[in-house]
């Protein structure tokens, strides 16, 4: 056992024999790992938020489909769904896009029935919208920041409606730590949202809540009985029902779920990382080859030299991974994903005015350690093995 510890000790010493080489190796691996860890952390954080959006959302989403596209549906169809056995609540919802302000900032307007807003909400400053002579709006933190609007700010009419336009009032602003999708949101009552889009009597979805176990039955009944066609008309949208299981099925699963092209980029970057370590750890460093030759000439066995290199590589990769984790945490928590959040989250600026979601532990952090080990080990063990299996005379040349 003492032998192992002694040889391991020489591995630590080896880090200091070529301090610049060690620093470059650890630094290069950290530089490669840091953006990867941050992206993986963002991806996991976003997936957690998406899962909560699915789990805490409605049991069914009933909408309309026409020519393969989602289309608005008449509000009056609500009563048809309410009549189905097993349905406990039907909530109409409007979700639409508008551009607002001098710079045409894109915003997502969400309208829901005013009775839904009877309770208080801890995720916003101010209060939820009510029915008033002015349009009451709750703004997303990013949108409020971009439009320079504060609580109780008044907004002159920003839409056109056949019945006339109203002044709007900001009654609430979402807290930055609410889910990311609040960033550019305008939450208001169903009536106000319909007026903003000049689409009275139409909604995008019905959020349907069912008694437990009735989801499949209600879905089948909606498809069978609900009709959006006006009387005397033969055409019109047909019902489309999305269940919680449908949404869960589209989310990527597994540790390396489809994180897009950035995975491919990082495979290439890691391959280059291995080559860098390969060059700095022996193939390109004649001093290191000579050092291994001397060790061989003085009686060291190949496995001892490999073990020494293993300890050295382990410590370097641990240092690189730990540094990447600490820096990643600082980047995401302290600097709130400055710049990188905007790269991977569409619509987020360079410095987002909302809390960027991320989860670094345990999977992304463990994966970082593993990749650091693979990159450093693949690079250093091969070159060490090449030098250790050559004759000492040749290695020392």
């Amino acid at each position: 056992m003492t032998k192992f510890i002694e040889i391991a000790g020489t591995g630590v010493t080896a880090i200091l024999l070529h301090p610049w080489r060690s620093a470059v190796t650890a630094g290069a691996v950290t530089v490669v790992l840091l953006p990867y860890l941050v992206c993986l952390g963002l991806s996991h954080g976003l997936r957690l938020e998406a899962e909560s959006s699915i789990q805490l959302g409605a049991d069914l989403y009933v909408s309309g489909i026409q020519f393969g596209h989602k289309v608005p549906i008449p509000l009056v169809a609500k009563s048809q769904i309410e009549r189905i056995d097993g349905v406990t609540e039907v909530v109409p919802r409007i979700v639409g896009a508008i551009a607002i302000g001098r710079n045409r900032e894109s915003a997502v307007v969400v309208g829901m029935p005013v009775d839904r807003f009877a309770t208080g909400a801890s995720f916003l400053e101010g209060r939820l919208p009510g029915q008033n002579s002015v349009n009451e709006l709750v703004l997303g933190s990013e949108l409020a920041h971009r439009l320079n609007l504060k609580l109780d700010s008044r907004i002159p009419p920003f839409y056109q409606n056949a019945q006339g336009e109203k002044v709007s009032s900001v009654v609430g602003i979402f807290r930055p730590d609410a889910p990311v999708w609040q960033a550019n949101l305008i939450l208001t009552t169903l009536t106000t949202a319909a007026a903003i889009f000049n689409q009275e009597g139409l909604v995008n979805d019905f959020l349907v809540y069912c008694r437990p176990g009735y989801e499949d039955h209600v879905r089948a009944k909606v498809l069978e009985t609900v009709s959006y066609r006006a009387q005397g008309s033969s055409g019109g949208p047909r019902p489309m029902v999305i269940q919680r299981t449908d949404l869960t099925a589209v989310l990527p699963t597994g540790l390396l779920g489809q994180q897009g092209v950035f995975e491919l980029h990082f495979v290439l970057v890691f391959a280059v990382g291995i080559l860098v370590v390969l060059v700095t750890s022996g193939l390109g460093l004649s001093e290191r080859r000579r050092e291994i030759g001397i060790l061989k000439a003085t009686g060291w066995q190949t496995d001892e030299i490999l073990f020494r290199s293993l300890v050295e590589g382990c410590l370097l990769s641990l240092a690189a991974a730990a540094l990447a984790i600490v820096l990643g945490l600082v980047w995401l928590r302290v600097f709130n994903g400055f710049w990188i959040a905007g790269v991977f989250l569409y619509g987020a600026g360079v410095s987002p005015a909302f809390r960027v979601p991320f989860v670094l532990a345990p999977a992304p952090a463990l994966l970082t350690v593993l990749i650091a080990l693979v990159v450093v080990m693949t690079g250093s063990i091969y070159s060490t093995w090449r030098a250790a299996t050559a004759s000492p005379a040749e290695a020392m040349r």
């Binding site: 630590v12 200091l16 992206c39 979700v95």
Partner: protein
């Protein structure tokens, strides 16, 4: 110096000059260097682990706002976009059933949609055909 008492076969053949620099026989002055490195790496690892643990503990507190938001809005948002201006499907697959690029004339153009291709959370569109479920409720 490495001895040969209880060592496995491969270690027994070690014959090294007595002054060969190993962790245990280099002078104390020089020995502090490797020790410093070892302790430094260990402390950095512990710092990373502690920071991750602390961050994970605060996650539950941060999540309570998110859960309340989702309950009130009936589930809003699913993907890596914070507005509907880019690809609405990337904001929420419930808001748009297909990728905006894929709805164009060019077949397979969803692969060109930068909101998916460079996304950190890419998901498939929801299948449009409700026939996946039979009218009697069976799948």
């Amino acid at each position: 110096m490495l001895g040969a008492r209880v060592a496995p076969r491969s270690w027994t053949t070690l014959k090294r000059p007595a002054n060969f620099p190993t962790f245990f026989n280099i002078p104390v002055m020089k020995r502090s260097g490797p020790r410093f490195i070892f302790v430094g790496i260990l402390m950095l690892t512990m710092l990373a682990a502690a920071a991750l643990t602390a961050d994970n503990l605060s996650l539950a507190r941060r999540r309570s706002h998110a859960d309340e938001f989702q309950r009130l809005l009936g589930g809003l948002g699913l993907g890596p976009s914070v507005d509907l201006a880019g690809c609405p499907m990337c904001f929420d697959a419930r808001a748009s059933f297909a990728c905006k690029e894929d709805e164009g004339a060019l077949p397979g153009s969803k692969f060109l949609c930068r909101h998916h291709a460079c996304s950190v959370l890419r998901y498939r569109p929801i299948p449009l055909e409700p026939a996946a479920i039979h009218k009697d409720g069976t799948r």
